[in-house]
């Protein structure tokens, strides 16, 4: 027996190092707790609904079919500023375009920008945070000081500056919004890595000669994935808001495409004559942001060890 153990020690160590709480089981547990949080379920439901709308609109666009009540970009100047009625549920805008169709069409853009921007900041931020936290020393100092500088500038201002440098357009808005929230992810990841770096399983993985990249991706990140998921969910709502702000300032989409912030920005001048052009995009933004916030909060509760003990 004794011999056996010694001869298999390498293998056992590997197994020990590999035996980390599996991400799948962690996510499953998360889901179980989440289900009990009604607000979070509502948020999730709204997000699913919005995603469904966005996919349907996008899909029909690709197939060249029209599932919206009207072509969202079709302007009929004889029908400008029609108040909400049976024909146009949300009324029409200055250029005689159907507001309901534009709002539904805008779902696609808001969701896409939210997810894409978070994907950018998440991938770069996690990478930078992991490197800084794991390597420490000068690398850490350099990366984190750059992040500090980025954090010290108001994010929307930074996004505008990026847009000024990159030019107008949705793709650039995604990049700008993605870039400005990198530091948040980098910080969270670095902090978590610092706290787990000295754990036995990491040391063990190191001892048996795993590469740094393998240790980070295979051993450390799965342990802090829950934190990242929460941050990313809340991050989407921030990204949607930032897109709306950029659109409001006229830096968003290429006309004539519908984007909620852009619609809001244009409607501002007609607050007295056609308030509905302001109200509906405003409600749309509120709903999507609220949904992601509810879900994010729910996730945080579900993952917070303290609340789990309770």
């Amino acid at each position: 027996m004794v011999k056996d153990v010694s001869s298999n020690s390498d293998e056992n160590l590997i197994q020990a190092a590999e035996y980390v709480e599996k991400p799948e089981s962690q996510l499953k547990e998360m889901w179980e707790t989440l289900k009990q949080n009604k607000a979070a379920v509502v948020g999730l439901f709204i997000i699913a609904l919005l995603a469904l709308i966005a996919l349907a609109v996008w899909g029909s666009e690709l197939l060249g079919k029209q599932i919206l009540p009207y072509d969202p970009n079709y302007s009929d100047m004889t029908k400008s500023f029609i108040w909400p009625n049976a024909e146009h549920w949300f009324g029409t805008d200055q250029l005689g375009r159907d507001m309901l169709s534009r709002i539904l069409d805008g779902t696609k853009i808001s969701l896409f920008v939210g997810v894409a921007a978070v994907a950018i900041s998440l991938s770069i931020g996690v990478m930078l945070g992991a490197i800084a936290g794991y390597r420490g020393g000068k690398t850490d100092a350099f990366i984190m000081r750059v992040m500090d500088v980025m954090l010290s500038i108001p994010s929307i201002l930074l996004a505008i500056a990026f847009m000024a440098a990159l030019g107008k357009g949705l793709d650039k808005a995604v990049i700008a919004i993605g870039l400005v929230s990198i530091p948040e992810y980098a910080r969270i990841v670095r902090g978590s890595i610092l706290s787990v770096k000295e754990n036995d399983y990491v040391q063990a993985a190191k001892v048996i000669g795993n590469k740094d990249s393998r240790i980070i991706f295979k051993h450390i990140l799965p342990n802090i994935i829950s934190l990242i998921v929460v941050r990313a969910t809340l991050g989407i709502s921030t990204a949607v808001l930032d897109t709306a702000a950029l659109g409001f300032l006229g830096l968003g989409v290429q006309p004539p495409y519908a984007e909620w912030g852009d619609m809001l920005g244009r409607a501002r001048g007609f607050i007295f004559t056609a308030p509905y052009t302001l109200i509906f995009p405003g409600i749309a933004i509120t709903i999507i942001v609220l949904a992601f916030n509810l879900l994010g909060d729910g996730l945080r509760d579900a993952l917070d060890p303290k609340s789990r003990i309770k």
Binding site: N73, M77, K168, G250, P255, P256, T273
Partner: protein
Amino acid sequence: MKKIRRIVALALAVALVGVTLTACSPKKEESSTSAAPKASDTLIYAQGAEPRGLDPALVDDGESAKVMINIYDGLLKYNKDSTKVEPSLAKSWEVSADGLTYTFHLQEGVKFHDGTDFDAEAVKFNIDRQLPPQVTADMAYASFVYGSVKDVQVVDKKTVKVNLTAPSTPFLSNLAMVMSAPIVSPKALKDNKNNVNQVPVGTGPYKFVKWAKDENIVLVRNDEYWGTKAIAKNVIFKFIKDNSARVVALNNGEADMIDGIDATVVKQITDAGNKIFQAPGMNINYMAYNTSRKPFNDAKLRTAISQAINVPELVKSLYQGYSETATSILPTFMEGYDKSVTQVSYNAEAAAAAIKASGLTSVHMITYTNPRPYNSANGQALAEAIQGYLSKVGVTVKIDAFDWTTYKQKLKAGDYDIAFYGWIGDNGDPDNFMYLLAHEDPSMNIALYKNAEFNKLIAKGVETPAGPARNAIYTQLEKIAAADAAWLPISHAQTLCAYKPNIHNFYFHMTGITPLAGVSKQ
């Protein structure tokens, strides 16, 4: 415990609401007492920005003009309802047969506000300071107004002769402008180092009293005025930058008259019982094709695109009745306007056929994001409306919108198929508008239009004395422009002002000035 806390919070909230309500009510009373009828001999005019100065030779902005028109007189002035010129400090004038010498006979017994006499020497002094060698770089309108002047001769106290280097009919219109042309007291100019921006002295119906920076300018009636004396004793020009704040000031009774408003606030103003003044505007809002390169170096294709756009429908919904559809480049009140000439008109079928035959499927449009005096809806809304029309004839439009400063740089770079622009007239002369299509400077002539025949007629128009023969030249120019379709004229924006119902005879002239001498308050 929780329940008690809730009750406390509720009580606090109620108390808070109560406090704010009670805090509000005395305030209301206060404001209603302060809005009580002020002395009816003070007119308060609120404008959107502070004048740059009050020396007519040294400023170039409309905000200054509104104040200066009440302090100064020029040799000539505009007719109340058009841009025709009428006598003012010059009783009458003659033009020599060769168009090179203008003789002005001056009003007698006119005194400047500082008590000095107005005479031929004063006229010469004012023109000379804006001619080489005395003219300085900060005299923005000197070359525009007096560029054709060779010299000025004093014949006697009440007669002055102006010699030109070349015949220039617009010269008379220039003399009615509020920039450069008004006559300033020579004594005041000498006393103030040739700059009366802060201490204006003219011959006008109102005298300057004081200027509180960022707040207001106060004028008082000139009781020794040589012409019809002003009705109201005092005039205060207030500066309220924010458009909605200006509307609130009018509705609260803090101002009697305001300008710089747009269609969106009209309802708010009329609901408060105040009145709207709609003045025809001396401007043109247009779309220009880049005629220097493909695809729009082809006049047929330009015409086809212009035909695809229903301009009357577009103007009606975009400007909600506060802009007139432009059928020509010249505003309708201008000399040389002829209603028989119209620019390209809407014909979607012909447009679609011609565009299909040409194979054109996409164009690149550049535009501006902010509203302009000639386009209250802003350039992007206008471009998008046109994008809508062009999509119906199978042309996809890529719109790039920029802020105004960047936009002007992009115009200079010249990389566009279609661009948007506008023009606000200076002197009410048709040459001032039609010359844009002959301009050498690409930032003025954004269509980059070049037509030798057109340029020849422009030159002829400048020399021909005012009258039917000259008007015929401008009608001919409009015809050429219509046939070549380098521009699609869209609209002439109206100027919107608002005033209290107890204000009488208020008017805003199409050249952007507000003479207040005839305005009364009851």
